[in-house]
Symmetry: C2
Subunit: 223 residues, 2 copies
Amino acid sequence: MNPAAAASRRTASAALQTKDRILDAAEKLFSLYGFDAASVRMIAAAAKVNLAAINYHFQSKEALLLAVYERRVAPINARRVELLRSYLKGSVGRPLKSEPILEAFLRPAIEILDEAPHIPMLMVRTVYLQDRETFREIFDALFRPVSLEFFEALRLALPHLSGPQLFLRMQFFLGSFLQMMAARRAMEGLQGFPELPAPEEMMRQLIHYTAAGLRVRALESSK
Amino acid sequence: MNPAAAASRRTASAALQTKDRILDAAEKLFSLYGFDAASVRMIAAAAKVNLAAINYHFQSKEALLLAVYERRVAPINARRVELLRSYLKGSVGRPLKSEPILEAFLRPAIEILDEAPHIPMLMVRTVYLQDRETFREIFDALFRPVSLEFFEALRLALPHLSGPQLFLRMQFFLGSFLQMMAARRAMEGLQGFPELPAPEEMMRQLIHYTAAGLRVRALESSK
DNA sequence: GATCAACTCAAACGGACGTTTGTATGAACC
DNA sequence: GGTTCATACAAACGTCCGTTTGAGTTGATC
């Protein structure tokens, strides 16, 4: 609507180019340095646009971050749900095993690593650094539907776990996933650690490890 | 040395009171808002000290963060190693199982949750947000020795895993741990999620889950 | 009681920040 | 061909930042 109308007026790409360049630069710098440390001036310089262009196209720095999230996270989550549903369709009568469910969650995130290797840090920041109210709302809106759908799928795959028990183990899995995504960058420059495998291989290993952890019998409450 | 000399001169507690109040406030605000968003003025106000007192007692904001880390993280890691070694001594001839190793790592962190419930966020930020060179150095110095000792212990407990495979699974565990620590705060204010168990119970569940994941056979490389 | 170091405090420093303003530009429309 | 409107740009706005200054206060030491 708004961008389309704009595109029809001008060279049909000038403004879009600007907006996209801003989004690309913002994504990268927010990921690398965080929301506070990445200044609007840095972003403008990296995108090679005028400083005021950022507040013109997006209304504020916060809204820019929101736009970055929307553009990147929404497709990943859509892809996750799409994969999960196709796997569910594939396993006609019987409940799915946990492995394909985990893969449906992981693969879309793994796949963007090639085109945007800095994305993991953005995701980590999304999950952990929702300091401001705005950010918590973004997080909740983007991830809640996906979480619920995967929760229900895993419930069927793991009938030996109660709801709260499964939820806790999903938290453990989520942590492992984020750590896997962030580990490479967190370790860069540090000496003496083993090399990390390629993303696809790390994903296989994480699925294998997590499936074993999810499979193990429920631990009765203490006392 | 420096603080001791100071204490002997003045009321023997005035300056120390100030330094500790600054450290307490800084720890809390760094944890809650992050290094950038927590301003020196906020910290001074929270600690009820004069603004300049912070640059007087610590030389800079970065050095203050470093002091906060030192005070809190170093004891936790010392306790971890102490626990691990006592467990190793206890299991005379035979290699330790992985469960007590995990517990030795987790318990010291769990225990400070009561006196400083905001610490998990500080730890998460430590691990994930080492944007500045200074912070990476702190992290490396504080955690490397501990990591190595736990790595060696787990190596003996899990002889079916190669070094790189074990390292990767330790990353998964570390992620689960951080998520467990941060989950409560990350979820507060959000509706419709199951209640999280008490810290001690979460730790038990995490040990159970992780031991199963560590135990499972090694996955041969693909292709 | 003078000396001196440790400490507190109010005020100011220069700089970076996010945002706004006002003007210029240039294609699309009448 | 003049008007319109989305966009670009340079410059400035006020605010907050981390840090420094310099004068004051305190209490132990001799």
